[in-house]
Structures are given as C-alpha cells and as structure tokens.
C-alpha cells in the first residue's frame, strides 16, 4: 500500500506537478522573462515524466560492457532516453530564439511587461 503510494508519487505525480507549476507560471505572470523560465520548468517536468516511465525494476544502464555481455540482460528502456535527448535539444533551440526576441523587444519598447506591450501594439 505504502509502496504503491510512493511509486505513484515518484513516477507520475511528481513530474506532473513540476509541469503544472510551469503552467501556473504561464497563466499568471506578466514579465516576459518569467514566461521563458516557466516554459523551461514545464520542459523539465515532461522530461522527468518520460524518463520515469522507462524504468524497469532493478534495471541497469543499457550499455554492453565486459561485465554485461549477454543479450537479455535486465536493461532499462532505451527508447524514452532517446526521446528525451531530442526533446531537450528542441527546447534549447526554442529558448534561444525566444530570448533573442526578448532582447529585440526590450530594445524597441524598453519594458518587459506583456500587458504594456499589448497596449502599445494595438492597431
């Protein structure tokens, strides 16, 4: 019973809470820089969730060495790790572009508040 609760908290509810904290940041914050940080927190939560779902009980890292050379060893799932690698690189790319847009925005309007920018750009 306690084992089930710990399992579900570590593997599912924990990463989902991190994801939802980032979502709360996007819904309520007005500063553009805080939006960038919130998107990064959401990415962190999703990556943790994907990796956590790949764990096998008592599994080891999926690399063949001198010590573990037979097929059929108790390896952890390698596919979620590959998905997370791609997701991390894509999130780095988007963050870099978003920060460049933020710098140009600041040069033009001298403010980082999104409500003020919306008011200035209405035509």
């Amino acid at each position: 019973m306690i084992n089930n609760i710990i399992n579900s908290w570590v593997f599912v509810y924990g990463p989902l809470s991190i994801f939802l904290i980032g979502l709360y940041g996007i819904l309520t914050q007005n500063n553009i820089f805080k939006l960038v940080i919130s998107i990064n927190i959401m990415n962190l939560g999703v990556n943790l969730y994907i990796i956590a779902l790949g764990y096998v009980h008592n599994g080891i890292a999926p690399i063949y060495t001198e010590k573990f050379k037979m097929s059929g060893e108790n390896f952890v799932d390698p596919v979620p790790q590959a998905l997370v690698l791609t997701a991390i690189v894509i999130s780095v790319a988007i963050t870099a572009f978003f920060l460049a847009v933020l710098i140009k925005n600041y040069e033009k309007y001298k403010t980082l508040d999104i409500e003020k920018i919306k008011g200035l750009e209405n035509d």
């Binding site: 989902l16 819904l27 764990y55 060495t65 573990f68 097929s71 059929g72 596919v79 790790q81 572009f97």
Partner: protein, 244 residues
Amino acid sequence: MRKFGALIIILALLYFLGSGLITDLKINRKNNLSQKTARAYINRNVKNPEINNQQLHGKTNNENTAANSVTAVIVDYRSMDTLGEITVLFLAVTGVLALLGSSKNNRIKLEKPNYILKISSKFLFPLIFLFGFYIFIHGHLTPGGGFQGGTIVAAAVLMMYFASNNYRVNTTDIKILESLSGLSFIIIGIFGLFILGDFLQNFLNKGIMGELFSAGIVPIIYILIGLKVSAELSNIVKEFMGDK
C-alpha cells in the same frame, strides 16, 4: 483573482491527469519490456526479439554493433528523428543570427576579469576541447554522444569569453563547418539509399562490438553531429555576448 482562478485550474488538472493515467501505466515493477519494440532494440535482433543468452559484446552481428543501446536507437533505428532535430537547431540558430546580428551591440565586458580564470583558462581550454571531442567520438561505447560533446565544446568557448575581454570567434569558419556537416549527413544517407535501398541504411563494415572502429556509419554520423552542434552553440554564445 487571476491567480486564484489559475490555482483552481491547476489543482483540477493534477487530479484529472493523475487519476486517469495511474490506473493503466506500467511503472516500476509492472514495466516488462517483453512485448515492446525496446526488447528488439536491446537484443539487436528485430526478426526474433526474444532470443536471450547470446553473447553480443566482443562479437559481431549483422544488425547493429554499437555497445551503447541509446546510441543505437538514436543513430540507427530512429535516425530520421535525429535529422529533424539537427534541422530544428540549425533553423533556431539562423533565427537568432537574423534577429541579433544587425544590431551593433557592444560586447558585454567584465570590469576586471578574474585573475585565476585568466591564467587557468589558457591551459584549460584545450583540455576541455579535447574532452568534448572524446565524448562524441566514443559515443557508441560510453554514455554520451554528439549533442553532449558539442555542448561541452561550446561551454569551453563561453569560458574563454569570460576570461578575457578581447576574445572573438570567427564567424565564417563556423558557417562553413555547420553547412558542410549538415550536407555530409544527408549525403551519407543518400549513399545508403543507392547502395542498400533505404535512406540512412548502415552500409559500412560493422566490426566487433566494443571496439572503437565498429558499427559502420554510427561513429561517423556522431562526429558530424558533434561538430555541427559545437559550431552552432558557439555561434549562439557569440551572438548573445555581442560583437564590437
């Protein structure tokens, strides 16, 4: 008011998502790789995924001889995703260059660069560079690979930017390196298309698992990816640090 409403939405979403997913997901003890494609990837045998107790390390097989299973999945079994990923990074770097390249930003200068950093960076820089290269050349034997090694090289460049106020990176070299690595990746794939019939199929000699020269085109692709990623991330560092 807005914060209170957002808090209610978030708590409702946590309950909804958690309770719906928990009943069916196979986590920890229930996760059994036997019916999944992961079993075939680990056993390096897509035709008979359930053959266990066959020695793989130190011998050759006719499918994939990279020792690191994650590298085998990224560069061999699902290589189209890797091609898409480097394209995404390439496009984002082009966008950053387009937005920030024309503004005549002054370079971010430090008042007095740290004395320890100034002296030690001179001999640390080639060591960190070499370490980054080691990580992506041995990507099929140890944990690591092209993306990880490229990031380490870009971190070394950032360290040099902080150590001295006069350090610059040459843009033309970076652009040529980036473009040539990307084109080489596609050309290697097209060789696979002509020689064996499918795009990005492994057409070189596969070798023995565990040695440096094994697994056909896998180390070659990872070296190209490592060079490309280090060039692109160094470009981003240069743009954000300013140029004048």
